[in-house]
């Protein structure tokens, strides 16, 4: 088997792989490559840029590899030059250290730019709606502090409006991911991470749990429905009119490990999310775990913030971490 033949084989497979990925942009199953909002759009553009910049390296390298392996194969009739002691060339070394440096510099520029961009709301003209996300074993709870409704494993958002997600957990760490709208963010106990997403048009999207959290993890998916603002408002009214209110007791039931159906609640205990975050943040200043300048914090949550310190101290003994019953001797 000659080296040339082998390399052509490799070439075929690598190109086939690239083709698979590039052609896949057409299929709607390729959620990441079909952005439905500005955040996913930014990330999609970045993916395209990085693929192109990588291709600038990959394609010539593969071509050079194929050429060299074929041309310098060890056969009796090979006329190609043979210089067994040729082992240094400053020019060549400068070229191949230099080109990657330039490519990394370009890619680095886009990375820095978009890292800052994605920290902000994607749409400065429209006031964002805040939704709080709590990862539980093994379901997602969404609370709407401005509308005072709550849902489980079902997320409804207004289209064309940026959504500011505050994400936490009262369970092992998870990750909140709606690929068509944008990248994921971790859901961690004791912290509230922040993620902006926006759906440009009404539609249905799939949400995933993206960080392994135990037995029911694979079933911890949720549906995201984006509707025009007025239909969204109608939905809120409908939930308020028809669904039961969530009590503290309901929440305690909900957080027990297990799977549940989708649920809706016309109300939820005030400050539930903040309490969940606070319960495990043990003495960290709340300004670190929840961004105080964010719009939602200026509205309904201000008075919550001040009462936390005292609340937290008295709550120490109830923390699951203080429970030593899990140990067996």
């Amino acid at each position: 088997m000659s080296g040339g033949k082998m390399l052509r084989q490799f070439h075929f497979w690598v190109l086939a792989a690239l083709a698979t990925v590039l052609l896949s942009g057409c299929g709607s199953d390729y959620l990441v490559l079909n952005p439905k909002g500005p955040v996913a759009e930014t990330q999609y553009n970045l993916i395209v840029i990085s693929v192109i910049l990588c291709a600038v390296i990959i394609v010539p390298v593969l071509a050079i590899t194929a050429f060299i392996v074929y041309r310098y194969r060890d056969t009796p009739k090979n006329k190609a030059p043979y210089k067994p002691d040729w082992a240094h060339s400053t020019t060549l070394e400068v070229i191949w250290w230099g080109i990657p440096v330039i490519i990394i510099a370009i890619l680095g520029y886009f990375t820095v730019r978009d890292t800052y961009v994605l920290k902000e709301s994607p749409n400065q003209e429209v006031k964002p709606i805040t939704i709080q996300v709590t990862a539980l074993d093994w379901k997602w709870m969404f609370t709407y502090p401005e509308q005072n409704v709550a849902t489980v494993n079902y997320l409804e958002i207004p289209a064309g409006v940026p959504v500011r997600f505050q994400v936490s957990a009262e369970a092992p760490m998870n990750s909140f991911w709606v690929p068509e709208l944008g990248g994921q963010i971790y859901a961690m106990s004791g912290m509230a991470t922040e993620l902006y997403l926006q759906a440009d048009e009404p539609g249905e999207f799939q949400g995933f749990s993206a960080n392994f959290s135990g037995e029911g993890f694979a079933h911890m998916q949720f549906k995201v429905v984006a509707k025009p603002q007025n239909e969204f408002d109608q939905w809120v009214q409908q939930v308020k009119g028809t669904a039961p209110a969530m009590t503290k007791q309901d929440y305690e039931e909900l957080k027990k490990p297990g799977l549940t159906e989708n649920k809706m609640y016309s109300a939820f205990p005030e400050g539930l999310f903040e309490e969940i975050v606070q319960k495990y943040s043990h003495g960290h200043d709340m300004h670190h775990v929840m961004d105080p300048v964010a719009p939602a914090a200026q509205t309904g949550e201000k008075k919550e913030e001040t009462s936390h310190e005292t609340h937290q101290m008295s709550d120490m003994s109830n923390m699951p971490g203080m429970d030593h019953s899990g140990m067996k001797h």
Partner: protein, 656 residues
């Protein structure tokens, strides 16, 4: 009484799954077969004298190699079970808890109990020979390292049939790995298996740094040391800085689980994210620890099979050593999505892209070593050539992952899975296989069969692309890692089936390799020259298999690729034969203490796993006694008389 025993047995042994019973039976049969063969052929003494107590680096290397191939089998079977479960939507082959245990053991075994020992095997088999040394700097410690690894690996594997496997992922993130969410001994097996073998890894790192710095043959400056030894130096430096972090991190996790501490618990002041930071401060250098020696192997193989000096030696050394430093500054790219500030994300994104530069430019050095050379496609070279396109693509997807804002879309998806399998299989596994094929004749005295090897090679390579290319696409479809099942609705079915087919092709490749080894033991081409590849470095100047003292006369090195220079000089007639003067050879004596001490370490681990403190105490006392005994052992070395050296060399066809 009987009731008590029955109850104990039902929790102590894993029950209820046909797979487990099958494993029980096969383990029992294997044990019986081994005991039977050893007894029948009266080999117990041989086993003890020649292997269990050996301090010879070559034999330790061979034992590492055998252990790593067994672990490759175990980890590979885990992989195939996972691929069967995912071949179609809604398969009910494995339950969630089984699947979780299997991907946990797959990852842990492949990195810590397959890649690490295969790497240490190559260190041991090659480095002293390449440096012109008679053993490593600390032969006794070397045996301790091996037996700690071996007993740690056995402890970990025991969890499959006793107590239950860990199932919180290969890095056991808390709070999932804490008592609240993972009660039972599985997680303790994980902690102690890694802890015990980790001590051995750290000792190996120290051993090889000292060996490389102090044991080189006279005349071998660092600036003309073979590149594989350079890569081992780079890797060992990373080991001694990274492994203490692992040891401490896992010790803290153990304190959380055993003593109710709150380092990483959800409540009580614990901080699980601290664990993520610490484990990846070890974990990221770890992937470079395993891949850098592969770069060293490629450097040796490319030069030998292109019949040409390695291109840009200095820039290669520079790249290898800068990776050792830079690898400690990229850890947070494993969790860009933790919602930290933009400046932290940017630091780690840029540092990750920067480390790609020294990693990537070496490709050009290898290519230009082949350029104007004469390439022969022997097995080590095949794997090296296969590595180049595979690693280039895998490295490029790594750079894509480093683009932090885009990583929010790739993170924890099958895109990530495809990426790290491509660099770990395409880089590490291909590299180690190239190294094994290359140095096999030096260790065993015969080559591995070419024809069967090529079958294995093509099954591995085609299988690899069929298995992992679809996974990049699945990542874009939103498929998250560690899902044990999925529905028809997402369109993931076709690509998953293709991926499963690819995994089985790689499995067939492995079977060919096992067959190849078995076949070659009897029929492999014998190496009578000691230099079957027309190679360049010192290990090829001595007979194959190398005598136990390696070099009858310690060589004096005149430059890089010393053996090649000698051969050139002989060809040109400029070689001046210097009168060889044999002297008695100073060698270390075998010792049973490393093996016995590691057994006591095993007791510590097993005792803590089941909270049987009495057993752990016995283990601690035993370890202390072994150390005490060794401290007062003065008769640890001996001299091989000149006559014995002369007759050994004569039997290998070399006259002094």
């Amino acid at each position: 009484m009987w009731e008590n025993i029955k109850e104990f047995a039902s929790t102590f042994f894993v029950t209820g799954d046909p797979l487990i019973y099958g494993a029980d039976v096969s383990i029992a049969l294997t044990m019986v077969a081994i005991v039977f063969v050893l007894t029948k052929y009266k080999k117990w003494g041989w086993l003890w004298r020649e292997w269990l107590t050996t301090v010879d680096h070559k034999r330790i290397g061979i034992m590492y190699l055998i252990a790593s191939l067994l672990m490759l089998f175990r980890g590979g079977v885990d992989a195939l079970l996972m691929r069967v479960q995912l071949a179609f939507p809604n398969v009910e082959f494995l339950h969630s808890d089984h699947y979780n245990a299997i991907f946990t053991t797959h990852g842990t075994i492949m990195i810590l109990f397959m890649a690490m020992p295969m790497m240490f095997g190559l260190f041991n088999m090659v480095v002293p020979l390449q440096l012109g040394a008679r053993d490593v700097a600390y032969p006794f410690l070397n045996a301790v390292s091996f037996w700690l690894f071996m007993l740690g690996a056995m402890l970990f594997n025991l969890s499959f049939v006793i107590g239950g496997s860990p199932d919180a992922g290969w890095l056991s993130y808390p709070p999932l790995s804490q008592n609240d969410f993972s009660p039972g001994p599985g997680q303790n097996f994980w902690i102690w298996g890694i802890q015990i073998s980790g001590i051995g890894s750290l000792a190996t790192g120290i051993n090889f740094i000292v060996t490389i710095l102090k044991m080189r043959a006279p005349g071998m400056k660092l600036s003309n040391m073979p590149l594989f030894s350079w890569s081992v130096l780079s890797s060992s430096i990373m080991i001694i800085f990274a492994f203490p972090i692992l040891t401490v991190t896992i010790a803290l996790l153990f304190l959380d689980r055993f003593a109710g501490a709150h380092f990483f618990t959800m409540g009580g002041g614990g901080n699980p994210m601290m664990y993520l930071n610490l484990i990846w401060m070890w974990g990221h250098p770890e992937v470079y620890i395993v891949v850098v020696p592969a770069f060293g192997i490629f450097s040796e193989v490319v030069a030998t099979f292109s019949k040409k000096t390695i291109f840009g030696y200095k820039s290669m050394v520079w790249a290898l050593m800068s990776i050792a430093v830079a690898s400690f500054f990229t850890w947070a790219h494993h969790f860009f999505t933790m919602g930290t500030s933009a400046s932290v994300i940017i630091f780690f994104a840029i540092s990750t892209m920067v480390i790609a530069i020294p990693t990537g430019v070496k490709i050009f050095n290898w290519l230009f070593t082949m350029f104007r050379g004469r390439i022969s496609f022997k097995q080590p070279m095949l794997w090296t050539i296969a590595f180049i396109p595979c690693f280039v693509v895998g490295g490029a997807t790594g750079v894509m992952l480093a683009v932090a804002p885009a990583d929010y879309q790739y993170h924890n998806s099958y895109f990530l899975i495809a990426h790290f399998h491509q660099v770990l299989i395409g880089g590490v596994v291909f590299g180690y296989l190239a190294g094994i094929y290359y140095w096999w004749p030096k260790l065993f005295g015969f080559k591995l069969d070419e024809k069967l090897g090529r079958w294995g090679f093509w099954f591995w390579n085609i299988g690899f692309y069929v298995c992992f290319m679809p996974q990049y696409a699945l990542g874009f479809m939103g498929m998250t890692r560690r899902y044990y099942t999925y529905g028809w609705d997402r369109g993931w079915a076709d690509l998953n089936l293709i991926s499963t087919v690819g995994a089985f092709l790689m499995g067939i490749g492995f079977i060919f390799q096992v067959w190849q080894i078995a076949y070659s033991i009897k029929h492999g081409e014998r190496d009578t020259t000691g230099d079957p590849w027309n190679a360049r470095t010192l290990e090829w100047s001595i007979p194959s298999p190398a005598p136990f003292y390696n070099f009858a006369v310690v060589p004096t090195v005149k430059g890089a690729d010393d053996w090649w220079l000698t051969k050139q000089a002989k060809e040109n007639g400029t070689y001046k034969e210097e009168p060889a003067h044999l002297e008695p050879i100073h060698m270390p004596k075998n010792s049973g203490i490393p093996f016995i001490m590691s057994l006591f370490f095993f007791l510590i681990g097993f005792g803590f796993t089941f909270h049987w403190v009495w057993m752990a105490v016995i283990g601690f006392i035993g370890v202390a006694l072994c150390m005490w005994a060794r401290s007062f052992q003065y008769d640890t070395d001996y001299y091989v008389p000149v006559e014995e050296v002369r007759s050994t060399e004569a039997s290998l066809g070399r006259v002094y």
